[in-house]
Structure formats: structure tokens, C-alpha cells
């Protein structure tokens, strides 16, 4: 099986799905001639032409709104927002329009769009090129929110998202683009939306996470394994709707839960998972559910040291695991 970076996996999903399905097209700022700011769509313009790889003006609300309209009339748009930080102008279109179309038309209309956006800190992007914005969408019924962590999943989940008849917001951690490599098959395949994956089995603590934090969590789990702390690591993959069965089964097995995300603590998906566990697995718990998240600060500061303190890393996760193990 060929090795691909996370970025190449996403490109390969777009190419394969565009080849298979003529209805699929890509639109966004500089996705065409320039090939995207991160070069995710590099070469697509040459391969599929200006009609299917469309350079759009700087107008996020318009880009997503037009994608919604195109989807209403039989197309399968994949809209790229250059950075998750720029999705805000389009939030109105996503939450007020895309999420509600099927429901308010009593099922007559369908809105099969994908909105892709790179997110996350750690590249000195400062205040407006570092944010995690998934929590804006994980409380919006009608949407699906997907965040892959491995190249294999990135491709399979993206194809599943494009084929899904409902709107999907698809976040890609920009630190994974070039650093993460893995086996990615040629040709189309899907990874089903709404299913989490157990990446490491363990008996003492369940760690729930996604995106870049999966990799820091796996490293942390290895670190504490030597100390006799046995951690199960669950990659959520779809944040909305959550895979309740996998989450609850894991925590019923281990009796302790730690949720790790780069998004802010308050309002992040960790609170929802914690509530889910206390509602449905309370009697299995041997410790309070713990959350480890970025602090509730308006934005990541530019300075390298401040940014590093804002960010989670394997050491901080290992520290939280030790505390929870000792409870």
C-alpha cells in the first residue's frame, strides 16, 4: 500500500472522488492556480479544469452559501475555508441554512456539502491562524463534524463526508499535514462517519481525543505504560454526532476517563463527553471524569513561549494521566 502524508491523503480523496463522481467540485480561495495555501489541492486545477476547481473571491459567506445552493441543485461541492479562523463569516450560512434545510423542507431538500478547514495551533500563527473552532458546530443538530487524525482516516472520512447526503464540517489539523505519514490505499474507500476508533487498548484509564492530540496522547500513554499505568486511547474521529457506544463501552471497562482536546476547556466537546459518561456510566466510575484542554484564553499569543504554554503536549497529558491513575 502506498505511503502518503496526511495532506496527500486528502488530495488523493479529492482526486479519486472527483474522478468517480462528476458532481463533485472544489471551491475556495486560491484552490486553483495556486493549489491552495497548504497545497492540498495542488494539481487539481490542471487535472480537472477551472469549472471544477474554482478560485473564489475572499467572501466566505458567499463561498459556503453558493456551495449550499449548488448542493440543492444536484451538485456535491467541497468548499475550502483557508483557515478555520476564517469560517466565522460563513457560520450564518452553515448553521442557519445548511443545518436546517432538510428539516424545514420536511425532507424535500438535501444539502450534501463538505466544508473543509485547517485548524490548530503550534505554527506561530498567532491569534487568527491558530484557533480550534469545532465547538461552534458541535452543538448544531443537522450538521456532522469530522476531525481525522491519521492519513488513512483522512482519505476514507473525506470520501464518506462527500458521499454523505447531509452537510459535513471537516477539520484538518495543519500540524498533521506534512508530519504525519501512513499507508493510504489508491482508489476510493470510506471510513464510516459517526464511529470512533480504539487506537490503543488498556485497562485502567480511557483517554478520549481527536486530531493532533491523538498522537500526543498515544505518546503520553507509552510514557506512563512503563510506570504501570495502562491507558486505552480512543480516537473520536466524528465529534458530532458522537459514537456513544464506543465511549461508554470503553469507560465501563476502565472506570476512569480523561478527555483531551486543543479546543478551549469551556464549551469544548469534553464537557459533553463528561456529561454523557456521568449520565450513562456513573456507577462504573472510580474517579471524577477529567478534562485536559487549552485554557480559556481569547486566542493563542504570537510569542513562542506563550504559545507553547497555551498548547498541550505529551508531557502535560502524561501528567494528567498520572494524577488520574493515582486517584
Amino acid at each position: 500500500m502506498p505511503e502518503r502524508t496526511f495532506l496527500e491523503a486528502i488530495r488523493s480523496a479529492l482526486i479519486d472522488e472527483m474522478t468517480t463522481d462528476q458532481r463533485v467540485f472544489v471551491l475556495g480561495q486560491d484552490v486553483g492556480v495556486k493549489g491552495g495555501v497548504f497545497l492540498v489541492t495542488d494539481g487539481l486545477y490542471q487535472q480537472f479544469g477551472a469549472c471544477r476547481v474554482i478560485d473564489m473571491p475572499i467572501a466566505e459567506a458567499g463561498i459556503v452559501g453558493a456551495a449550499i445552493g449548488a448542493a440543492l441543485h444536484g451538485l456535491r461541492p467541497v468548499a475550502e475555508i483557508q483557515f478555520a479562523d476564517y469560517i466565522q463569516p460563513a457560520v450564518d450560512q452553515i448553521i442557519n441554512e445548511a443545518a436546517k434545510l432538510r428539516y424545514r423542507s420536511a425532507g424535500d431538500w438535501t444539502c450534501p456539502i463538505v466544508v473543509r478547514a485547517p485548524f490548530g495551533s503550534g505554527i506561530h500563527g498567532a491569534l487568527y491562524h491558530s484557533q480550534s473552532t469545532e465547538a461552534l458546530f458541535t452543538s448544531t443538530p443537522g450538521l456532522k463534524v469530522v476531525i481525522p487524525a491519521t492519513p488513512y482516516d483522512a482519505k476514507g472520512l473525506l470520501i464518506a463526508a462527500i458521499r454523505d447526503p447531509d452537510p459535513v464540517v471537516f477539520f484538518e489539523h495543519k500540524q498533521l499535514y506534512r508530519t504525519m505519514r501512513g499507508e493510504v490505499p489508491d482508489g476510493c474507500y470510506t471510513v464510516p462517519l459517526g464511529t470512533a476508533a480504539v487506537r490503543r487498548t488498556g485497562r485502567q484509564i480511557s483517554l478520549f481525543t481527536y486530531g493532533l492530540m491523538l498522537h500526543h496522547s498515544l505518546t503520553a500513554a507509552e510514557q506512563v505504560a512503563d510506570e504501570g499505568i495502562d491507558v486505552e486511547v480512543v480516537d473520536l474521529r466524528t465529534l458530532y454526532p458522537l459514537d456513544r457506544e464506543t465511549i461508554l463501552a470503553s469507560v465501563r471497562n476502565t472506570s476512569k476517563a480523561l478527555i483531551v482536546h486543543e479546543d478551549n476547556l469551556t464549551g469544548g466537546i469534553g464537557g459533553e463527553i463528561s456529561a454523557l459518561i456521568s449520565e450513562h456510566a456513573f456507577e462504573y466510575l472510580d474517579a471524577p471524569v477529567r478534562r485536559l484542554a487549552s485554557p480559556d484564553v481569547p486566542a493563542t499569543a504570537f510569542n513562542e513561549a506563550l504559545e507553547a504554554h497555551f498548547m498541550l503536549n505529551a508531557d502535560k497529558i502524561a501528567h494528567a494521566l498520572r494524577e488520574l491513575a493515582a486517584y
Partner: protein
């Protein structure tokens, strides 16, 4: 030199070519100008040039990280505008703003320190290149979200009117920014409420990799106010005097008559969108021609021809600027980083319960030292 678009756009002809590379008309009659002012305009253009070149160098040396956009090629656009402003005016810019804040009189060292992310920087290392502020000089910030500054600038103009204060707001942005909704909403409000504001559009040919005409159905951007009956002009952004004259005039219109305006300065971006952009999407010949028409060199030549500059003065100036920029870099280099203990300061005006505070910052500092 400038052309206006008032209510009858269809009848207009252009004095300034739509092709950013092809602007050839320059003011060369300086008889009504103060030579000292002309020299100081040239000096600021040269300072911007050197500051930006060395900034690019510092980026390559990894002294500066993240995203960094330079004003190279836009020195006349920047300095022409700034030289027409008064202390009471307010300025909002996009993220390509080093030159604007320099020309507003902020010490180069404090700007360079911000680019380095240091505690002595204008935003105390929190903002970096794209988010420079100086409250005393009414420099209201660089904005990294395209169009983020436009409604805010409109609001400051509203406040000026409300307080019945003199002054205007300059809302600087790039060509690509005239395509976002916030621009249209703000133009409408500015005209509706007769606000003292100039929407200053730097047309450098590209919004990242997208040519102006591929992003805007109306590529003559100064005409985009027609739907709001807003006055618009286009000026050669490579000529600092043409820019200054236009801004001076529009400033008075905005301040005294409540007539907001669009001023489009046609310029050329010498390098890629940001320091790391190789800009392969640009045609080599276009880039060659664009750079050949260098606003700094041309203004120097025009002033030499008019006897306002001499080789001797230019040499002395260049040496002083070289040292000034070197001193700014030294200052940035030797400045301290922000304290980790300050990680959670500046969140709210007064202490707020249940938000991260000084104790959490101390713990972060402990973790940083490996003391878990």
C-alpha cells in the same frame, strides 16, 4: 493624476491604467512643495524599504516566525498616505502594515521587537507582524481577518461624528478585501450616516494568488462605491506626492462635508503574498516590469532632478537608515520574551471569577520548568 467616479461611472475614463505595472504618470513639479517635507517623505520610503528587506532577512534567519507580509513595492502608497494624516486621525490597516506604523512615528525597535515576539514590542509579543497597535498614535491595529477592520473603522468614524471631534478615519485594505460582505455593509453605512472616513484600497494586483480581475467583477475598485453614491478616485500608488495630494483633499471632504470616499492606490507587490510565498502564479515578465518601476528609486531620481536631493544627502540618509534598522534589530534581539506568568493577563478589565488567572499562569510556568 487622479480620476473621480461620482454618480455617473459609465462616463469615466482612467488616468491610471488598470494594469498595476503600467502606471507612468508622476508628479515632477515640486515648486509648491516644501523641500524638507519632500526629503522626509523620501526618507520614510527608504526606511520602509530597508526595514522590510531586513525583516525578510530576519525571517530567513528564524528570528521571526509565523506569517509575515511586507510592504516592498508599496512604499509610496504607504508613505504618501501617512504624510497626509493629522495626529487626530485614526488608522486601521490589514496585516501588511509595518510601513504604516513606522510612518506613524512609532520607534522601529518596538516594531521589530513585536515581529520577534518580544515583551518590548508594540503588542507585548502577543500579536506579531500582523497585529501591531499603538494607542497614543491612534494606530488601531493590523487585522489578520480579511475585512475585519472595515466595520470597526466605520464605527470609529461614527464616534468621531458623535463627539463632534475633528479628524478622519483611514480604513486601509487590499484589493481582494473589497469582495467581502463587510466592505459593502460598511460603505453603505458610511455614506448613509455621512461619516468622516476614507476607504483606502491598496491595489497591488493580487489578493494572495488571485488577480484583481479574477476576484472582482468590477476591477476598477474605486467605482465599487457607485451603488452607495460614494465618491471614488484612483491614484498612482507609486507616486507618494499624488497619493498625498489625493488624501489631503479627500480628508477635508470627509471631515468638513461628511463625504466619505474610496481612494484606490494602484501599486505592485514586489514579492510573494507573504515572506514564504514563492508566488509561482505570477508571470515572470510581469514581475520584472513591476519591479523595474521602483517607487523608491524613481522618487529619488525625481527629487535629484529637481535639485531637492543630492547624492551627498542620499548617501548620508542611507547610512543613517542602515544604522537605525540595525539598532532596531539589536533592540529586538536583546529584548526579553513576555513572562509566562503573564499568560492570562489582559483577558478582562478586572479580575473575573472562574477564569484562568495569575495562579494558573504560575502553574504553567512551573510545568515549563519541568516541575510537575
Amino acid at each position: 493624476m487622479t480620476k473621480t467616479a461620482n454618480v455617473e461611472p459609465a462616463t469615466l475614463s482612467l488616468a491610471v491604467s488598470n494594469d498595476p505595472v503600467e502606471n507612468t504618470a508622476y508628479i515632477t513639479d515640486f515648486s509648491n512643495d516644501d523641500p524638507a517635507e519632500l526629503r522626509s517623505i523620501y526618507r520614510m520610503m527608504l526606511l520602509t524599504r530597508r526595514f522590510e528587506e531586513r525583516t525578510g532577512e530576519m525571517y530567513t534567519k528564524a528570528k521571526i516566525g509565523g506569517y509575515c507580509h511586507l510592504n516592498l513595492g508599496e512604499e509610496a502608497t504607504v508613505v504618501g498616505l501617512m504624510s497626509a494624516l493629522k495626529p487626530e486621525d485614526y488608522i486601521f490597516t490589514n496585516y501588511r502594515e509595518h510601513g504604516y506604523i513606522l510612518a506613524r512615528g512609532v520607534e522601529p525597535g518596538r516594531i521589530m521587537a513585536e515581529l520577534f515576539g518580544k515583551d518590548t514590542g508594540v503588542s507585548r509579543g502577543r500579536g506579531g507582524s500582523m497585529h501591531l497597535f499603538d494607542i497614543e498614535r491612534h494606530f488601531m491595529g493590523g487585522y489578520a481577518i480579511v475585512g475585519g477592520q472595515i466595520p470597526l473603522a466605520t464605527g470609529v468614524a461614527f464616534a468621531l461624528r458623535y463627539h463632534e471631534q475633528p479628524g478622519v478615519v483611514i480604513c486601509q485594505m487590499g484589493d481582494g478585501t473589497t469582495n467581502i460582505g463587510a466592505w459593502h455593509e460598511s460603505l453603505n453605512m458610511a455614506k448613509l450616516y455621512k461619516l468622516p472616513i476614507i476607504f483606502y484600497v491598496v491595489n497591488n494586483g493580487y489578493g494572495m494568488g488571485l488577480k484583481v480581475e479574477n476576484g472582482s467583477a468590477e476591477p476598477e475598485l474605486y467605482r465599487k462605491g457607485c451603488a452607495f453614491r460614494m465618491h471614488g478616485e484612483r491614484v498612482n500608488g507609486k507616486d507618494p506626492i499624488a497619493v498625498r495630494n489625493a488624501v489631503q483633499r479627500l480628508r477635508l471632504m470627509a471631515q468638513d462635508d461628511g463625504e466619505p470616499a474610496i481612494l484606490e492606490a494602484v501599486s505592485y507587490r514586489f514579492r510573494g503574498h507573504s515572506v514564504v510565498d514563492p508566488a509561482r502564479y505570477r508571470d515572470e515578465e510581469e514581475v520584472r516590469r513591476g519591479r523595474e518601476d521602483d517607487p523608491v528609486l524613481r522618487f529619488a531620481q525625481n527629487l535629484l532632478d529637481a535639485g531637492i536631493l543630492t547624492d551627498e544627502i542620499m548617501k548620508t540618509m542611507a547610512e543613517a537608515i542602515e544604522q537605525e534598522v540595525a539598532a532596531a534589530i539589536d533592540f529586538a534581539n536583546s529584548s526579553p520574551d513576555p513572562q509566562i506568568e503573564d499568560l492570562f493577563t489582559y483577558m478582562y478589565a478586572s479580575p473575573v471569577a472562574n477564569m484562568p488567572g495569575p495562579e494558573d499562569a504560575l502553574e504553567a510556568a512551573r510545568i515549563a520548568r519541568g516541575e510537575f
